[in-house]
Every structure is written in structure tokens, then in C-alpha cells.
């Protein structure tokens, strides 16, 4: 959960990734495929921005009235025969899940993909009480074998190529498997089939929870979630408290946005809506169904004008695929359960203790690709800045950087001082300028100049040359055309009417 739990700092973890050519190639390959897929799917569907706006409106409305919709959902789910539990913290959620497993004397749990389960580190907890947890999503299965955590919200094993995967699976098979995706997937399918049949509990995540009917909805491609929710006698669903949407009508919008944004699919291969345990007339399904609604820091965002929109996230992973930083360092460098831009904001935001936030919020160039990719328009790039500000304002900023910024505002807070600084730079640079460029790797230039040559300052700054330039311009300035004058006046007029240009 907390980035502190991971080893080292972001910089150190990023360093590992940057030196791992396999990882970088694998991540680039798949994120490119996904983001191109998304672009095509969104374009084909048309009016994408209107759909995003609609999705955002639904999420904003639901989160603004979360108490109401959560209550409605719980009442309806209970009426359907579901046992609903609330967990304030991750530890509470684990305790509830374990007590169900103990009561059922469970030996094995088959799981479909759930990021909440990863957030709770539930597999480890189950193993401690002697219950075997088996991940059945192919990607999750692979990283479970490797003893790793997911490095992507949607594609957990994105950092592995098929040769590495073939090695892992060959160990399980006891024979050398061909690094062919059909062979490997076929092997896992066969292997897992036995486990589905013998499992005592099926555990799922939850993509959306429908308040009006008390149903939980799962999007998946492998059919494993169908098996998890139909074969075992007991089902436990882990659900973040913000997964709610009001109605099935709203699901239409989410079903339009989620698969397209995640993988570029029009719809995932399977979409299941489950409203309760098996009824007497049903052929299959669990006899007992539990939903554990997890808070674990989410409610801290409610009422916070800067972070409440974080709860709008539908976990599609589009921001990871679009992120140029994620592209180079992969997910593990973020050090938390959630990676990429959403992880860089979510991990610190869910964690109350600002002093312990590490540097993940700094691992972004603030390019805004995440915001542009987000199907519900969460301004992640702004939130990253707010996180940085909160850390500074609580006195946990980097001391050296703080002193630097003080110097910056003192020197640039006044035009005369700014002019003096530039002047001093023009003179002082003579010590380091060679051939019109600065190549020294001393002091703050070390990192920058390890990849670049810094340009030198020209003899005169713009302001030093302004009078000369201005005189030249005035000397033969043309009269502006009436048409352009009119256009300028129109532009000024539009401002008053709320038109004009706006921040994207």
C-alpha cells in the first residue's frame, strides 16, 4: 500500500528499470499496442469527448452522493441475499475475508483479478492461515509464480516477455514449454481447470456496483471470473467503496468507456452482472455470497476539493499506457500497488501520513498525457502538483530544494534583481562555456548535462536589446487592416460573454 513498503526510493527503483532492456522493451511494446488500440476504438466510436464528459458527470454525481448510493446498493444487495461487510481499513478487510475462509474451513481460494486484493496483500494473509490462494487471471497467475506484484492495473505481467513467461511456466510443467502464446495459455488453462473444480471459495474484485439492483459487474477476457463466480460454493467480492454507479443505464456509458480505454476493445469477451447467490432455480452459482466494501483511505478524499475526483477512477489503466514516464520505468518503480500516474496520486492520497510520502509525485514531467487519456477526465497532472505542495506546506519538503526556491523567488521576484542575475550569468559563464555550450557536470548541472549540452547566454538579453528593437519596429510599422482590428475587438468582446479560450 504505502510506497514506503517498497525497497529504496523512486529514483533507485527507476534506475533498476532503466537498466533492464527486457523490461523496457516489453513495456513499450504493450503500452503502444494498448494506446493505439484505444485511440482507434475511441475514434471509431465517435464523439469520444462527449462520452468522456458523460462518464465524468456520472462519476461526479455518484461520488457527490456516495452515502445515498452506497446505502441503496447495500440494501438491495442484502435483499438479494448477499452478506455485505464494511471494512474501514485494509486490516479490517483482511480480517473479514480470513474469518469467512476459516468458517468455511477453506483449503483453496480461486481468485479472479482484483486490485483491491493486491492493495490488501490478501494472498499472503491467506497463506499464513494455511489457505492456498490461486490467481486465475493469466497475468496474475504469472506474477504469482514469479513472486512479484502487478506492474500494471490491467496487464499485471506487462513487464515480462513471452520467453520469461515460458521459463516460469516450464518450471510448473516440469518440461520445456515453447515460448508460444497459444501453447502457454493452453497450458495454464488446463492447469487451472482442476483448481477451479476443487476450490472452496471464489474471490473476485468488482468493476462496478449497481445501486438500483445491488448487482456487481465484472469485465474480463479470459472467462476465469465466470468460473470463479459459478463453481465454488462461496463467493467473496472485494469492492472499493467508490465502485458504485446508480443504474444499469449508467453501466452503458461505463461499458462504452472502460474496455475501449483499457485495451481498445469494444467490449471485453465477458461481462457478468451478479446480483446474489444461487437461487433454487439456478443451475449454478455460489450458495453463499459476501461483498466486502473497502474504504482504506478512500473516504479521506470525500469533501476534499482537490482530490475527490480521484474516486472517479474506473481503473482502466489508460493513463499508464499514455504516460511517457511509465513507458520508461514500468510499474514496479512506483513502489505501490497502483502504478503509473493514477498510482503516483492514489498511493500517497490513500495514505494519511504526509511525512511518509516518498518521491513518487515527483516522477512526472506533468505533461498531461494522463488527463488526456482518462475516460472520466481526472486532472491527475494537477493533483500531482497539489501533492507536492502539501508535502512542502507540511514542512516535509527537501531542504536544499526549499532553499533553492527561496532564492528563485527572491531573485526573480523583482525585475531589477532578475536583470542583475542575468548580467552576472553572462559574465560568470565565461569560466565554463566552450564552443557556445556548457558541458560541465558539476553541481546541479550533473544530471542535466549527462544527457545534454546547455546553451550559453547570449551577450544581450531580450530586455537589454528592447529599445533598439522597438525603435526599428516603430520606424516602419504598418497600419493594421480594419478586418484585423475588428477581429481583435471581437475577441475582447467574446471574453465578457464567457466565450474565448479556456484551460483544457
Amino acid at each position: 500500500m504505502s510506497a514506503k513498503g517498497a525497497l529504496g526510493t523512486v529514483k533507485e527503483r527507476a534506475e533498476l528499470a532503466l537498466n533492464d532492456e527486457f523490461l523496457r522493451k516489453a513495456v513499450k511494446f504493450t503500452t503502444e499496442r494498448l494506446r493505439n488500440g484505444k485511440k482507434n476504438a475511441a475514434g471509431e466510436h465517435g464523439n469520444w469527448d462527449e462520452w468522456r464528459e458523460r462518464g465524468r458527470a456520472i462519476r461526479l454525481h455518484t461520488i457527490a452522493h456516495l452515502d445515498y448510493y452506497l446505502n441503496l446498493f447495500v440494501n438491495n444487495a442484502r435483499a438479494n441475499g448477499v452478506h455485505v461487510h464494511f471494512a474501514d481499513t485494509g486490516a479490517d478487510a483482511v480480517r473479514i475475508a480470513l474469518s469467512i475462509a476459516e468458517r468455511k474451513s477453506a483449503k483453496t481460494v480461486v481468485k479472479s483479478k482484483s486490485m483491491v486484493s493486491e492493495e490488501l496483500h490478501l494472498n499472503a494473509a491467506l497463506e499464513k492461515i494455511g489457505v492456498e490462494a490461486i490467481e486465475t487471471d493469466l497475468g496474475e497467475y504469472i506474477i504469482q509464480l514469479a513472486g512479484e506484484t502487478p506492474s500494471h492495473i490491467v496487464i499485471p505481467a506487462i513487464h515480462k516477455n513471452r520467453y520469461q513467461i515460458a521459463d516460469l511456466l516450464s518450471e510448473v510443467a516440469g518440461e520445456k514449454l515453447e515460448a508460444d502464446t497459444t501453447v502457454l495459455a493452453g497450458f495454464v488453462r488446463k492447469k487451472l481447470r482442476e483448481r477451479f473444480l476443487e476450490a472452496d471459495i471464489g474471490m473476485t474484485g468488482c468493476n462496478f456496483a449497481i445501486a438500483e439492483t445491488g448487482s456487481m459487474v465484472l469485465f474480463e477476457n479470459e472467462g476465469n471470473a465466470r468460473m470463479v463466480t459459478t463453481l465454488p460454493k462461496t463467493q467473496i467480492t472485494l469492492m472499493g467503496m467508490e465502485r458504485i454507479i446508480p443504474s444499469f443505464q449508467d453501466l452503458e456509458v461505463m461499458a462504452t468507456l472502460l474496455p475501449r480505454s483499457a485495451t481498445g476493445q469494444k467490449l471485453t469477451m465477458y461481462m457478468s452482472a451478479i446480483s446474489g447467490p444461487r437461487r433454487s432455480e439456478d443451475a449454478d452459482g455460489p450458495d453463499e455470497m459476501h461483498i466486502i466494501i473497502v474504504d482504506n483511505g478512500r473516504s479521506l478524499q470525500l469533501g476534499d476539493p482537490e482530490f475527490q475526483e480521484l474516486l472517479n477512477c474506473i481503473r482502466c489503466g489508460a493513463c499508464l499506457n499514455a504516460c511517457p514516464v511509465y513507458r520508461h520505468i514500468g510499474g514496479h518503480a512506483y513502489g505501490g500497488t497502483y502504478s503509473g500516474p493514477i498510482g503516483a496520486v492514489l498511493t500517497p492520497a490513500l495514505n494519511k501520513n504526509i511525512a511518509e510520502w516518498d518521491d513518487i509525485a515527483n516522477a512526472s514531467s506533468l505533461c498531461g498525457a494522463c488527463y488526456e487519456a482518462c475516460p472520466v477526465k481526472i486532472p491527475l497532472h494537477d493533483m500531482l502538483v497539489y501533492l507536492r505542495r502539501r508535502k512542502v506546506e507540511k514542512g516535509h519538503g527537501n531542504k536544499l530544494e526549499g532553499a533553492g526556491m527561496k532564492g528563485f523567488s527572491t531573485l526573480l521576484g523583482n525585475a531589477k534583481r532578475f536583470r542583475t542575475v542575468v548580467k552576472l550569468g553572462q559574465i560568470g559563464q565565461k569560466l565554463v562555456v566552450r564552443d557556445g555550450g556548457i558541458r560541465t557536470k558539476l553541481g546541479p548541472l550533473k544530471g542535466w548535462n549527462s544527457y545534454r549540452v546547455t546553451p550559453s547566454l547570449p551577450k544581450k538579453s531580450f530586455r537589454e536589446n528592447w529599445e533598439t528593437l522597438d525603435q526599428q519596429i516603430r520606424a516602419d510599422l504598418k497600419e493594421m487592416s480594419p478586418e484585423m482590428k475588428q477581429r481583435m475587438e471581437d475577441a475582447v468582446k467574446r471574453r465578457g460573454q464567457g466565450g474565448g479560450h479556456h484551460h483544457g
Binding site: 514531467s365 506533468l366 498525457a369 532578475f418 544530471g447 471574453r495 484551460h503 483544457g504
Partner: protein, 278 residues
């Protein structure tokens, strides 16, 4: 037609330095009050100190259309380095120089989508200071990136430039994503005669600058700029053009580090040179 009474004309002229009064006498007196627009240059600290040639190019291109830029010297930096790093008190100190500089301007034009974008953050930066927040909101309405002003406001797409070179374009993130400046530079480039445009692969990917990010996360930033330059090389372009000197300094720095002879220019420079205004 008779001449307007001298006293009345004078009084009206004295109402404001910015008013030109034209009095037409027909059957009745019609008074047309026309404002002379104050168009100001927001040079940005980077172009001021390191790339004055970009500011000059902008001034010359706009002068071609009769726009006489004025340059308030109290401006320094928009405050973005401090703002993005979380030091908002410090950011406000330099941001105030921008608020002061452009108080009476009708248009504020800068050669950077990122610094113009920063002005769009001012209402948030001054959210607990109602006086400056109101000033910030006014300024936000008046702030334009260079091509935004040239294309959207003046309606110019062809400045009459000739530039017979192979050119590629890097769309800077803040300009394209936060201000939505996407079509304007393309329209301007398309009108340049002799110019052979080659699209940049993965053009929309950040160059890795990100202000203090390039210093704090130097190796991630280095990986990003190295990949950007790989893509620039793939195009075999002679010239890389853009709208933000911070990004261009970053990319040019890596090109030079690798001894790649690609020329890096702000679009204003290309237009000024192509139209022989430089």
C-alpha cells in the same frame, strides 16, 4: 461637413490615453469611440535570458500585421518552477510581477504554451487572495500563446514565408494539451512555401523536460529526451520546430550532446526567417 468643436474633441481625448475619438458630422453627431488595443509581450524568463532571438522573431512577425507589441519591463518569470515543485509562496512572488506587468493589457502574447498555461493556473494559485485572484482571472482571459493569437485572433495562417527545408514538429505538452493549440501551428507550417513537412513519430510524447523534473529525475528525463531525439533522427528532418523554448532547449541539448546536426527553431523564428523579417 464641418470640423468638430475643438474643445469637445480635446475633452474626449483626455478621457483616456487609449482612446482615439473620431467625430463624424452628418445630419446628427455620431461619435465612434475606438479603443487602441494594448498588445503586450510576455517574453518568459527563458526567452529573455537565453533565447532573445525568439522574442525578436515574434515581434517582427506580428509587426508585419501592424501589431505593435509593448514590453513591460517589470515582468520576470511566471513562477512555474516553484509552482510545479509545490512552493506556492515562492511562485506567488514571481507571479505577481506578471500580474503587475499586464494589468492594463488587452492581449498578452508569449512564445510559450507552458508559460501561458501557467497563467491559467493563477486563479488557483491565488485562491485565498481575492484581490489577486480577480486580477488573475482577468489576465487568464487575455493570455495567448503566439500562434493562438496569430491564427485565432488575427486570422493569419500564411505569413508569406518561404523555407525550402525538411521540417518536423514537436507539439509541446502544455500548449497542445492544456491550451489546445494543435491546429494553429500546423496551419502556419502548411502555408510555408517550399517546406517539406515530415511528421514526428510519437510526436505527442513528452520530451522529458518537465522543469525541475529534468534535474530531480535526471535519468528518467534523460531516457525520455534520448528517445525523442531518436524519433527526430528517424524523420531525417533538417529542422525541428516547436512552440516552447524549454522543450526545444532540452531536445537541442541532447541533439548537440550526440553531435546531431539538426537545427532547432521556434516557429516564430522559422516564419520570420522565411518571410525575410529577421
Amino acid at each position: 461637413m464641418t470640423n468638430p468643436p475643438v474643445g469637445a474633441k480635446k475633452r474626449l481625448q483626455n478621457m483616456s490615453d487609449n482612446l482615439i475619438i473620431r467625430l463624424y458630422y452628418f445630419d446628427i453627431i455620431a461619435i465612434e469611440v475606438q479603443c487602441v488595443m494594448k498588445v503586450s509581450l510576455f517574453i518568459t524568463c527563458l526567452s529573455d535570458a537565453i533565447f532573445p532571438r525568439v522574442g525578436e522573431a515574434m515581434v517582427r512577425v506580428l509587426a508585419k500585421y501592424g501589431v505593435q507589441l509593448e514590453f513591460p519591463k517589470v515582468q520576470t518569470c511566471c513562477g512555474q518552477p516553484a509552482f510545479n515543485s509545490g512552493y506556492w509562496d515562492d511562485a506567488r512572488e514571481t507571479a505577481k510581477t506578471i500580474l503587475n506587468a499586464f494589468e492594463d493589457s488587452d492581449f498578452v502574447i508569449s512564445p510559450s504554451g507552458s508559460c501561458t498555461g501557467m497563467i491559467h493556473h493563477y486563479p488557483k494559485l491565488f485562491e485565498n487572495d481575492p484581490v489577486n485572484k480577480a486580477r488573475a482571472e482577468k489576465l487568464q482571459q487575455k493570455a495567448y500563446e503566439f500562434t493562438q493569437f496569430l491564427v485565432q485572433v488575427l486570422g493569419v495562417t500564411d505569413v508569406g514565408a518561404v523555407f525550402p527545408h525538411k521540417v518536423t514538429y514537436h507539439p509541446s505538452c502544455h500548449g497542445s494539451r492544456l491550451l489546445g493549440v494543435k491546429d494553429e501551428p500546423m496551419a502556419l507550417l502548411q502555408s510555408v512555401k517550399g517546406l517539406e513537412f515530415v511528421p514526428l513519430p510519437f510526436a505527442e510524447d513528452c520530451c522529458g523536460f518537465g522543469g525541475t523534473f529534468a534535474v530531480k529525475m535526471a535519468d528518467i528525463s534523460g531516457a525520455m529526451v534520448s528517445e525523442k531525439v531518436d524519433h527526430v533522427k528517424e524523420t531525417e528532418a533538417e529542422v525541428l520546430v516547436g512552440l516552447d523554448m524549454a522543450c526545444l532547449m532540452n531536445i537541442a541539448g541532447n541533439l548537440r550532446y550526440r553531435n546531431e546536426p539538426v537545427r532547432v527553431m521556434h516557429l516564430a523564428e522559422l516564419l520570420a526567417e522565411g518571410a525575410k523579417l529577421a
